[in-house]
């Protein structure tokens, strides 16, 4: 007879790992499933707003979350979830490439994926100068001219990090006012290698074997294109909610899972946490993801054990 879990957590980033830590302490028999361990957190070079660490890399912080969750005995498996269905016994069947697991409750914590520009040349030149991870790829652009697309914290911190290697960094933003935190914008203004191009979009990336230039929708210094060796895309992310959608979980107009105060969704037994939800005013920080993970585990515990 196959085991029925109390809870399956889908996604092994900050929200999922925090949920697992709480679930273990609530003695919920649970399984943690993730295609990879963490996602976007791994790309953060210096995280400087996690209380208790003045500066820590995303990978190091995540590794501590993993160690903490494992120390409490969780079973973590590297499996991508293909579908979640509710069966006739009111249990959820979580299907992965290899297995079908049964559970009484689910926490969806799959996070978000990079937003792509969806312009000609982007896909073709990915890995050939187009990058979505500045901390990974900065070293390959020593002495080169590059551009960063975006104006939020991720874009601005990427631009700053890239100046350690590149000779010149254009920061291209579609609007006038960059939404990044003022503490970062001050550093950008003080960095002589960064040139900010406002109210401008890239409409095409060109290059034969690798990136050679980008085409702008508005002339900059009288030219409609900019010669660059690399394009770093940092224009935010989108929730990965296909699993939720097919199960009938309510999604808002931007694609985030709608949650109540206890992180429950419209489907009884399904909770959600982290960047994928409408929670925490959509602030989407590690601190809010972990908090939502804790609340979701508490919500699941109350539903399973206290009723």
């Amino acid at each position: 007879m196959q085991e029925t879990y109390d809870l399956i957590i889908i996604g092994a980033g900050p929200a999922g790992l925090a949920a697992s830590i709480y679930a273990s302490r609530y003695k919920l028999n649970h399984l943690l499933l993730g295609a990879t361990i963490g996602g976007q957190i791994n790309e953060i070079r210096n995280l400087e707003n996690w209380p208790g660490d003045i500066s820590v890399s995303g990978y190091d912080l995540l590794s501590r979350f993993v160690e903490h969750a494992k120390s409490l005995g969780v079973t973590a498996q590297s499996e991508s979830v293909v579908s979640v269905k509710k069966n006739a016994e009111n249990l959820f069947e979580v299907e992965t490439g290899k297995n079908t697991h049964k559970t009484r409750a689910v926490i969806m914590a799959m996070g978000t994926e990079y937003r792509k520009m969806n312009i000609p040349g982007e896909k073709e030149l990915t890995g050939k100068g187009v990058s979505y991870c500045a901390t990974c790829d900065a070293m390959f652009f020593r002495g080169k001219v590059i551009c960063v697309v975006g104006g939020g914290n991720a874009a601005v911190t990427s631009a700053l990090g890239l100046t350690d290697f590149a000779s010149k960094v254009y920061l291209i933003y579609r609007g006038d006012r960059l939404p990044a935190e003022p503490i970062w914008l001050e550093k950008v203004a003080a960095n002589p290698k960064i040139e900010v191009i406002r109210n401008t979009n890239i409409i095409e990336i060109k290059g034969e074997q690798k990136v050679e230039n980008v085409v702008l929708d508005k002339a900059y210094e009288d030219k409609n294109h900019l010669d660059v060796d690399g394009v770093f895309v940092e224009i935010g992310s989108e929730p990965g909610v296909e699993l939720a959608r097919t199960l009938g979980v309510e999604i808002d107009e931007q694609g985030y899972i709608k949650v109540s105060a206890d992180m429950s969704t419209n489907i009884s037994g399904v909770f959600a946490a982290g960047d994928i939800t409408t929670g925490s005013n959509k602030f989407r920080q590690i601190i809010t993801a972990t908090a939502e993970g804790a609340i979701a585990a508490n919500g699941a515990y109350k539903m399973l054990k206290l009723k």
């Binding site: 361990i37 791994n42 953060i44 590297s78 290899k98 990058s131 991870c133 790829d137 070293m139």
Partner: protein, 104 residues
């Protein structure tokens, strides 16, 4: 155990291997590469005896990294008969790589 490829052994171990080889181009400064580490280890264990799975540190082996024009990591390339037949950029799920290797 996954193999460790270097500029010195790459030709013998990968380019002159008639079979299928998965090469993970990584570097210690790259968080997503570090996070891929356990997945590569598990793949090497599961495919032991069937497919060669290994890693090459691009920081220490710049010649091979340049030969393959690596500009984004983690870069995962599947070689067959010494030629690249499929490549991935960024973190990948274990099954995605396993399926690709079984089909290669």
């Amino acid at each position: 155990m996954e193999k460790v490829f270097t500029d010195q052994n790459f030709e013998a171990e990968v380019l002159k291997n008639d079979g299928v080889v998965l090469v993970d181009f990584w570097a210690p400064w790259c968080g997503p590469c570090l996070a891929m580490g356990p997945i590569i280890e598990e793949l090497a264990k599961e495919l032991d005896g069937k497919t060669v799975v290994g890693k090459i540190n691009v920081d220490e082996n710049s010649k091979t990294a340049q030969d393959f024009a690596i500009m984004s990591i983690p870069a995962l390339k599947i070689f067959k008969g010494g030629k690249v037949v499929q490549e991935f950029v960024g973190m990948q799920a274990k099954e995605v790589l396993k399926d690709a290797l079984e089909k290669a």
